[in-house]
Symmetry: C2
Subunit: 289 residues, 2 copies
């Protein structure tokens, strides 16, 4: 592992929301790419240029990817799959395609279908575990990826030079690369990301159902409730695509949680309750350490 | 409502953990009490004196309350009920007894039983919605109650001078007083505090069950999981008492949540899913505003 990352020449960032915008800022502010071309709607391109996210832009994906050495799909997962099919014939030979989608098995399968035997060389799917309940270019930050885990799900085992460059660049923007298979990624994320999201959303729906929005009784709450409702503010359009691309794993995680919650309810007021709280506390402390 | 709060003369704080310790600091640093006497174990009294939490201390509750004008029970709710019975005969005539317990109906019922017709004058149960996942005197802070909601659950309607002094003092340490009946308090808190706690604890148990503690796959997580697991680190002994003193309301809130979560699971991947996410997002944004 080199400590001086290779510099990328022409980089294309498709999708200029929180993820793509933050990526452009991180690459440009750290001098990790000679030229960043953005792809998005006209107004977004103007704003991205103003904010220093891109060097140039195009509303046409074919034009944007032409001549780029690295292409980052920074759109929700179903959109990225559709765009991959569209840009595949237009990619420069040797260019590496990656993405930042929240699920990986569907994207990986589509990459194998589109690129066949070349899929491993030409596509290295990724998922930086960064993000906020706030979305959009206006919230982009060059530090969004600092200290985050950036998973990569290689589609084969042989060494590819462009993959090493991508890994070095990811490290240079402050993230930690973790390799995992697409299937293991999606199963794990169902528990560590999709389940917590569902709980926060269902908590909001439960409170609304029990009190009605704006009920003054709801003033009687503390920081604990606020932190448990933060994820519920996430972007619904993004979660619709995550749910659609990982339904079996999410359903399994939810069923397992439902069973744990029922068991906790059934031991309200008996000695088992305290034991469960001790166990959960130990686990949470270790994980958060 | 006076803007210059009356000063309390002798105040007794029973229980020198996070809540009692922070109360002593807040009263003494703001000059709101002429003398604060603490009650707790020997070693705790020494440490509390060192930290500036108390002026004097006693390990004996009878001795500690003797001559005090205001007595704050800062122990878990079942302990506070037991201590109220014990100190009732030793309270100075005209002294006001209050508490900081997380549930109120059981404490209020015990107060009526112990003090009969005088309960309203002599006891004003309270619950500041402050706290942290960290417990104990060492984490006490004079700002713990700043900007929090401090609920009071009066046991009757007539005006009592000592109640007004207590309200003024609570405001002087930065909290906002909200009056509510003990029953409404416990029903509301089951949703805004106890339910979120149970979800965080059950989430930790689910992850442990699915992966086992220390599984490296669990590294693949982001800030969302961390915030959803914060409450799971709370003190089990305190939650055991909260659960035991509010089981029906907690069970009802859990059942309602279980139903919402099941509905969310059943619409994974259909149009209803997005609608639910939009609704939850709107609610969470309004509540957190």
């Amino acid at each position: 592992m080199s400590t001086v990352p290779a510099k990328m020449q022409r980089v294309c960032v498709i999708g200029l929301g929180l993820m793509g915008g933050s990526l452009g800022l991180a690459l440009r502010q750290r001098g990790l790419a000679a030229h960043v071309v953005g792809c998005g709607r006209e107004a977004l391109l103007h704003r991205a240029a103003e904010l220093g996210v891109i060097d140039s832009g195009s509303t046409d994906v074919g034009e944007a990817v032409a001549g780029s050495d690295f292409v980052f799909l920074c759109t929700p997962v179903e959109t990225s799959i559709r765009l991959m099919r569209e840009i595949a014939p237009k990619l420069k030979p040797g260019a590496l395609l990656t993405d930042v989608g929240s699920t990986k098995a569907a994207f990986a399968a589509a990459a194998r279908e589109v690129f066949g035997d070349e899929a491993h060389q030409r596509v290295l799917p990724g998922h930086p575990l960064a993000g906020r309940e706030l979305s959009g270019l206006e919230h982009a930050s060059s530090d969004l990826y600092a200290d985050c885990v950036w998973t990569l799900t290689p589609l084969g085992e042989s060494a590819v030079a462009s993959h090493e460059t991508l890994r070095a660049i990811i490290r240079a923007i402050g993230a930690r690369v973790v390799d995992v298979t697409p299937e293991e990624h999606d199963r794990t994320l169902a528990y560590t990301s999709h389940l917590p999201q569902m709980l926060s959303t269902a908590l909001a729906l439960t409170l609304e159902d029990a009190f009605g929005a704006g009920n003054p009784a709801l003033e009687i709450h503390a920081g604990g409730l606020r932190s448990m409702l933060r994820l519920a503010m996430s972007e619904p359009a993004m979660w619709e695509q995550i749910a659609a691309s990982n339904p079996e794993n999410i359903a399994a995680a939810l069923e397992r949680f439902e069973s744990e919650l029922r068991k906790l309810r059934e031991c309200l007021g008996n000695a088992e309750f305290r034991k469960k709280f001790e166990e959960a506390r130990k686990f949470a402390k270790e994980l958060r350490n």
